[in-house]
Amino acid sequence: MSSRLGIRKRRLARSTGGDVVIMLFLLIGALFMVIPMILVISNAFKPLSELFLFPPRLIVRNPTLKNFHDLMVMMAQSWVPFGRYLLNSLVIVTFGTLGNVLFGSLAAYIVSIRKFPGSRIFMSMVVFSLMFSAEVTRIPNYVTIAFLGWIDSLKAIIIPRWSAPLGLYLVSRFIDGMINRSLIEAAEIDGASDLRIYWQIVMPNIKPAWLTMIILSFQELWRTQGGHYIYSEQLKTLPYALSQITQGGVARQGVQHAVTLIMMIIPIIVFVINQSKIVDTMGHSGMAN
């Protein structure tokens, strides 16, 4: 990759003292970022008495699994089986993410490889759309979904996700930077179809881009509670169920921390697995800058 981009390793003109200062600076920054995570993990295992200590303890003294036990008991008492909430979340995350990767990358292929008249304007619109927050588009989205008759169904969460512009933008930038035109032409000259080129040439060579899409989409969908689109209890998601459990006042503070850890841990595992690929993608998309 580095040779393609013409990047050469060079020795930076920096003193050892400079290195130490930079390392210290980075270390302080890293501590600020890691302390909340340590606190979440620690709190999940704290007994109620330890949770309300002031100043708060970073590391738990008397770890317990009681918070998780209480959570299980409460979920068992729910009139909609807990498995149903989990299934709803899994369906949303799986189909939403798959669709987002598939349609986002297909659209990016067309925009970047098969440049059509107006493709630059189209891409500008995509970038422009990234500036809108969810609140701004909430009413038009609701009207559209209601018009399609998808209110109170998982489709209302899954299908709009397929057209999330961030994925299209990321993959398009990555294709522009990584896929040399000659790689496509070498396949074309042998008679490969667009779908074949997309699947066999483009997708395997932009793996970091779609892994990033998976992470971003997964994180967003994993957190969704159904918003304004889902009213039936049996269609609600796991975060919704967990948030209901935790709305029980001070007595449920321990359970709430257990819920926070559960909700956080899965996206973190997915992120850690793909960490190096993500950084690679950010570098190519210019997002690191």
Binding site: N180, I189, D190
Partner: protein
Amino acid sequence: MQPTSNVNAAGVVIDNVSKVFGRKRVLNSVDIAIEPQEFFTIIGPSGCGKTTLLRIISGFYQPDGGRIFYDRREVTNIPPWERQIGFVFQNYALWPNMTIFDNVAYGLRIRKKPASYIRDRVKWALGVVDLPGIEKHLPNQLSGGMQQRVAIARAIVIDPELLLLDEPLSNLDAKLRISLRKQIREIQSTLGITAVYVTHDQEEALEISDRIAVMDKGDLQQVGTPEEVYERPANHLVASFVGEANFVEGRVTPEGWFERPEAKLRVQLDEKILAKEVSAGETKMMIRPETIRVVEGDNCHVGGTITKRYYIGSLKRYVVRLADNSELVWETFDDRFSEGDQVKLRFTALCPISGEESNEGI
């Protein structure tokens, strides 16, 4: 392997082809006929239109005017994938996610050939480029030269009518370029494929081509054998692009002498030149540096002082200042001269030349 007569090899006719990008005209009514099994090279400086022409021949670009024929079949509007051609790209264009076997077999798989045929054919192609046994490697495990040979194997494995090569050696180091260009020529002549080769390296073109087309600013300047292009260039542009050349302006006398009195230069032209190529009056002659000899006595054509000496390996290059302060470049194996020496020179070959030097320095 012995050279074979390949019945699939197609001749190519480029008929009055023009191409415009935006407001820039990159090809102006180009006419070329390439023979079957010929190794045809298109050379010229950057931006001369040589790659555009190759891409029009391949079908990646459509010409704005003119037609392309493979043999007598018009292919102007036929897409590249319906043409049975092999294309070797400058940057190899091997798919990094696929093994060498998968790279080479790609075209055969799309053509739905049986697995056993594909296996044998890939083995054959890798054997032709002298890379047997690397089927399971990934492209990034190979050197640049090996990758380009795999790219050639991928291009020839489908038994193409025409092999197109777009500056295939320009990313390689000098030594590898020399050995690989010989190998490319050997493969072409062994398989009997028609090859159209684009390069900006005139030495490469001279060594491996049957014929060369020289282009500049979208115009075809000359088509000829390497000898014709080098020894009898059509104009100043060609002469200065293909090899080193001295250009001496002077006049031809009715008695058949070429002279430039202010430089004290006087040459008796031979009958061949006089009969065909020049008439009395002002004219310009091209003199290749290696055709200049140092002589003793009065049989010299011009005298001068060596002002610079360059060591270029076995050859030495001298710059000689003449009486009118103009300079001649002279190349010889003789290394006994040094700056400040007076020398008497004799020209063994002169070529009358027309046209002016390119403004952009071809």
